[in-house]
Symmetry: C2
Subunit: 534 residues, 2 copies
Amino acid sequence: MQIPQLLNRLVPGLLEVVRHLPYGGRVVTQIVVEQFANRTPPRPRPFSLASDYTSWLSLTDRTFTGRHLPVAVPGTVELPSVDDVLELFRRKPGAEIPSTDTSVMFMFFAQWFTDSFLRTDRHDWRKNTSTQEIDFCQIYGVAESKTRQLREMAGGRMKSQMIKGEEFPAFLFERTAGGASAVKSEFEGLHDAEFLVNVLLRDVSQDQKDLFFAVGLEHGNSTVGSIALDIVFLREHNRIAGILEQEYKLNREQPSWDRGLDPAELDERLFQTARNIMVVLLLKLVVEEYIGHIAPYDPPLELVPAIAEGKDWNRSNWVSIEFNLLYRWHSMVPDWITTDEGKREAKSFLRDNNEVVVARGVEWLIAQCSRSRAGKVGLFNTPAFLVDRKAAEYPAIEERTIALMRAAQLQSFNDYRRRFGMPAVTDFAQVTHDVAIQKRLKDLYKDVDRLEWYVGIFAEEYPDEQFLGDLLTTMVAYDAFTQALTNPLLARNVYNEATFTASGLKIIEETVSLQQVVARNAKSPGKVFASFEC
Amino acid sequence: MQIPQLLNRLVPGLLEVVRHLPYGGRVVTQIVVEQFANRTPPRPRPFSLASDYTSWLSLTDRTFTGRHLPVAVPGTVELPSVDDVLELFRRKPGAEIPSTDTSVMFMFFAQWFTDSFLRTDRHDWRKNTSTQEIDFCQIYGVAESKTRQLREMAGGRMKSQMIKGEEFPAFLFERTAGGASAVKSEFEGLHDAEFLVNVLLRDVSQDQKDLFFAVGLEHGNSTVGSIALDIVFLREHNRIAGILEQEYKLNREQPSWDRGLDPAELDERLFQTARNIMVVLLLKLVVEEYIGHIAPYDPPLELVPAIAEGKDWNRSNWVSIEFNLLYRWHSMVPDWITTDEGKREAKSFLRDNNEVVVARGVEWLIAQCSRSRAGKVGLFNTPAFLVDRKAAEYPAIEERTIALMRAAQLQSFNDYRRRFGMPAVTDFAQVTHDVAIQKRLKDLYKDVDRLEWYVGIFAEEYPDEQFLGDLLTTMVAYDAFTQALTNPLLARNVYNEATFTASGLKIIEETVSLQQVVARNAKSPGKVFASFEC
């Protein structure tokens, strides 16, 4: 981030001192947030994917994905073929570039977290089916009707089952008389049936389906990381609901609650209060542990309630197409996972593999993922199985990304650098020192001013203390902070004991890491290891 | 508003001077807006009609109406019967209390304007079916699909017809072979059919229906004022679309528009741009002419773009139940309308009477309404036909209002005074000098601290230079300013030539009164008279 060499060496030590000062984290957070949240004009943005010019729809209909910059002027840009761009991402066999210090657990958290608000509508690529908020739909579903399908409707709890003495979500499927798998009637309509059958369950066997859990999102069971996190947070929800229920019954600490609630009213209040607490717990982990890892030098960030009050950027969130695209860190997927039972091929171990989750437990799985190193975010590092088309009608993930990027007609890498307050680059050598990559990009784009944004953000070289290139860091920070910190639960008039109860506030204040959440819901808390660093 | 007597006498003269100073209006507006928009904590509010405590739904689901204060603690308040409260509003025969200087045209504008965002859901009283914004749904409908039903889909225009050389919206109904009225197929689904039949068309003859126009809202044809304003603004939309089309064809003034638009693309861009201009025109009339009339001393307010930027209250609008209720100025309906053809009974002349609109024209009607005096907002002044129940299943308007107010379990008049930064009253004599009303209220409520908010705001006495009592003025100003001035079209990054075109900006800047809009769409502009004062 353009810091002189000497200062660069001093920063980590400096941050280590600040970390231990009273209000140190709070001050660092204020500085970091101000640095990024004002990099581009505040919402409302004039444009969205609803129209390329300002219209009532583009200004108000948040089902259409937003955009930071208008479309590139048509015909002004000559672009390389999609296939050529695709090859810029392909990892060569055996040539994985490892990250400096990032675990596979971080990778899974990133996927699981962003799946909740980067929800491209399958029927209309211009739309986003999320609520725009960090709403914990991973476990609560994307609409009130789905939340009710997933709730126990007693004690404020989510539906769950015990398997070998441990708590898991309910199963999604059951076998019919004929032996086929069918979605249980109580979960009908929870997910888009056509999408389940044609896409997600395409290569999934009946036996695998038997172990699929009923969780908030369609993709919940697709990777072991997503389902592990769903399981951990479902347990945490039910744990918190249990604490709140106990306190209500013991007549403690909830002075504002009506003492005469009937069971249905009590269930509702327990559920809603537990959810309030859960959303803020997630925001804490996201800001303090997850963004802390993404930010250069891993600064000691803190979730500061009401930090957005009075700020220009304190406007309701509206996910941009750029945010949707820049978050596709496919190159983090490693070739191998190192488990204490030996190396496992990542491709098969990580996907549609609830068997290992049930057999070995989430804690074992989280520990393996926390010890395995993720790939480095950048070009030439996406595993082949995410690049190669499986069938004509079934494009690979990286292919779909590039198609979406092209459909959105984005302006160039340099246009976005300028938009986010950074000088334009004037030579490919300013993007990366790697001469081979320079040449490859030059062959494709001729002039660095024509470099595509989606390629540029991943081509940009970055030092070990960073996790992403400069423009990518800036853009992800802008969208992340102005989303997370404008969550209504953090508002000055909302973040209080009435919203969370005293015990809820205590849980929020005491929680600073995923490790804690996993441990307090584990059979053997002492053996838990959950880490984004590796 | 607690201004000493001497100052009070100076204010009108002072404002008259300021009105003619450069930036005078702008400065007055900044002062007035700051005065009211910070009277209560900014959104998000913790509560809504979704739940009496903070829940994810109450914080995020804007289909539920918001609320400024939580529900009154149950059982703490003893309230008079609904019938007793109803009688506080009834106007005695022949005892209309006239307003100081407010025309029936103002009354119609208020109704027509607020019908667009105070849309109580008939199927669930806790909900509001509006978009929360001033979106001009009176002529564009409440959803994109309805907008398309109402659009000509050519030249950016709305569907219209010529009657005796003047432009009107299309008719909503047609006669079937059997002679009955049926909604035209192109307008099917535009309005809730059941509501149309069972409520709105209950007492409407086939002949009346023949003259019903296809406009954005169900209620559009219910009063002559609403339909007159719909007609005027439909003409204005089509006039503006025509200007924009001309300029496009002459290759003038729209440098950013693609020169090669096909007819459908051109229609879309013309429509959207005309709508952008129209919404801001409405905001101008609302702030400068309409709120100017409501505010004490009719100050010279100006619509200042971007005035909300950087303000604490610059948050997306969310209509409150209090706003919905306090705006029910039924007492403005006079007993008689004075037309240049003699006195007409208001009850029959004003309602479901498109015949007079078509026969005499909107300009004639607007002139009559601008010369007729409206009733004074307050107790004992609502016409009997809005108080008396027509049938067991068909409660009167004032009855429905009181039922809604009671269902919302609002806190007291004094609670709201405190919430909006005003001292509590300690005696009924501080509410009104009228000893008979004091006694009546004391008989019903015993203690002034128990006075219901909905009764209190209308009981509060106010001097001639005010249009409403102090609390009502403050609350309506808070909700109105924080709604109108946070409209996305006024945002710094949106309010510009790209959004409106140069001609659009010129139209906006030149328009300061309803009189102008009516005149530039009239056959005889010189004869037009449209005024909120009388």
